[in-house]
């Protein structure tokens, strides 16, 4: 770090000022994210901040090997540009997981290069460089490999189910202790050529830990994992900033670290489970538990025509979409149905549970893509008090987030989880292929209530059929 600083010399104040401008634009840009109308401009402002930061860094004296830089930027622009245009909105969680991963990977690689550089300088590495280097190495590497596993699970390259084996926690514990001991040994020998072999050993152990740490976490818990890895990558970038003495990296990385932390806490609150429980227990442990596949109970089954009559003559309808709706690609069909209902004077809104998708806020993006206006997207806490005045709640591809057992049955595995209280509405229509349980693997009492009607069908087909019937009314 001393070297980089010395090389700034003549223009170092100017460079510093540019970095301050850059991170101010990041913070201002993010602060505009409170409403969709301002958020888009805020994103461009943050991007402008990034352009300033990159441009001023390229003008530094330490910059060399220009061909490699051009090549790297070219590859990155090409891959990032094409990916961002091609990605489907249903695939956003995978894309964010990958982006977390490459960010963490970059931070880990930079620490390795910085470590080698310091060895070349004589091997007396100041602790205020070595400690952030080690932090960035370990956290970046865990984030890279953990994100790859999260990506593979979301993309269904590997099973989304929790993958467990005996002694998993013990192995993870040993790895963690090994990494810490390795780091301490390296730090203790900081002034006398710390061993590069041990450094690489720590890198590999962190890579293995990253893999093992995400493998046992099930698909339904991915919103938390992605948020956490987002925070990790931010902190790894901030640590790289400490090592390289770069303010822009410290502030931007910390900003991302805060964001990831807030989202992690919010997601775990929405599942009513502690972060520790999510990461180390895994839902798989209770998933095959009670109630599923119990005795046959009578349900009230209806067809598209009955549903159309209930909906067409209602005053207010609330749609409760779940990830199943996105899987069936039914957003557009649901939006058409909503249009048809609005033409009949029905008030329509959408109740979005915080964990309705595969990442925080995912369902909102899927509905926005289908042209659902922002004002109709209602958060859980906002819509629940209105449920008793709602004529019909339509549950599409959602299950656990509407399960009244979360409120009523203290012994349920999801007891205490906040839910969309559809049972409070006058009537409930559940569009679902069958009575099969959701991710939590527990039976949903909602299906058997007196005011619940089941419409057994594919979500997309059902929405289209109901819309056609409403048109006839």
């Amino acid at each position: 770090m001393r070297l980089a600083l010395a090389a700034f010399s003549p223009s170092s104040d100017f460079v510093g000022a540019c970095y301050i401008l850059a991170f101010s634009l990041f913070i201002y840009g993010v602060s505009q994210g409170t409403h969709p109308t301002t958020a888009r401009r805020g994103n461009l402002i943050a991007a402008a901040g990034m352009a300033v930061a990159v441009a001023i860094t390229l003008s530094l004296d330490v910059i060399d090997n220009g061909i490699l830089i051009v090549l790297g930027i070219l590859i990155g622009t090409l891959v990032g540009g094409v990916a961002s245009r091609r990605v489907q909105m249903t695939q956003m969680p995978q894309m964010v997981a990958l982006y977390n991963g490459v960010g963490g990977g970059a931070a880990a690689l930079i620490s390795w290069a910085e470590f080698r550089h310091q060895l070349d300088l004589g091997g007396d590495i100041p602790l205020d460089v070595l400690i952030p280097v080690l932090f960035s190495l370990v956290v970046g590497s865990v984030s890279f490999w953990g994100s790859n596993i999260a990506f593979a699970k979301l993309q269904e390259l590997i099973s989304g189910r929790p993958i467990r084996f005996p002694g998993q926690h013990i192995i993870n514990g040993i790895l963690l202790v090994g990494i810490l001991v390795g780091c301490i040994v390296l730090a203790a020998s900081h002034d006398s050529q710390p061993s590069q072999a041990l450094f690489i050993g720590v890198l590999i152990a962190a890579a293995v830990l990253g893999n093992l740490f995400v493998l046992p976490i099930g698909g339904a818990d991915m919103p938390v994992v992605i948020s956490l890895l987002n925070a990790f990558t931010g902190l790894a970038a901030a640590a790289a900033g400490f090592a390289l003495d770069n303010v822009a990296l410290i502030v931007a990385g910390t900003l991302v670290g805060s964001s990831g932390t807030i989202l992690t806490l919010e997601m775990s609150r929405a599942m009513n489970r502690s972060v520790g429980n999510l990461l180390f227990a895994g839902f798989g442990a209770v998933a095959t538990g009670p109630a599923a596949g119990g005795e046959e109970r009578p349900v009230h089954s209806i067809g598209a025509q009955d549903a159309a009559i209930k909906l067409g003559y209602a005053d207010s309808v609330v749609f409760v979409p779940g990830y199943g709706m996105a899987v069936a690609q039914a957003q557009h069909a649901v939006k058409e149905l909503a249009n048809e209902l609005e033409r009949h004077g029905v008030r329509v809104s959408y109740a979005i549970h915080p964990v309705a998708g595969r990442m925080p806020g995912h369902m909102n993006v899927l509905l926005a893509e289908a042209d659902v206006p922002y004002e109709q997207l209602r958060e859980m806490d906002e819509i629940n008090p209105e449920m008793p005045q709602t004529d019909v709640a339509v549950v599409i591809g959602a299950n656990d987030v509407t399960n009244p057992a979360a409120k009523d049955d203290p012994s349920s595995p999801i007891a205490g989880m906040p839910i969309i209280e559809v049972t409070q509405a006058h009537e409930v229509i559940v569009i679902k292929r069958s009575l099969s349980p959701g991710f939590a693997g527990i039976d949903n009492d909602l299906f058997y209530r007196d005011n619940t009607s089941m419409l057994f069908s594919d979500a997309k087909q059902a929405a289209a059929e109901i819309a056609a019937e409403v048109q006839e009314l």
């Binding site: 070297l3 930061a53 090997n65 930027i73 303010v247 410290i250 991302v256 979005i352 925080p360 206006p373």
Partner: protein, 106 residues
Amino acid sequence: MDLITEITIFVLAAFVGFEVISKVPTTLHTPLMSQTNAIHGIVMLGGLIVVGFADDTLEKTIGLIAIAFGTINIVGGFMVTDRMLGMFRRKPKPPAEPDAGASREG
């Protein structure tokens, strides 16, 4: 810059981050996340610096990959966030033809 100054910046940035980000509504959390993806692409600056002092093939390769990874974050992150935020509409459109939604470029 001394360590204490850096830690001061870190702590203040954490408070600012918590303050600013807790105001972002749940509805916009996915674009927020892809935007923070772009912002942690700032590690690319680290890649630019290490590639400057890289003096063997390994270090050059490491630097190249770090720059490419960081640029993927920056370019991909900001572009996909822009694309997503462009989808959030304010007012309901006037009643559309049944196929209008499906024919939109996505």
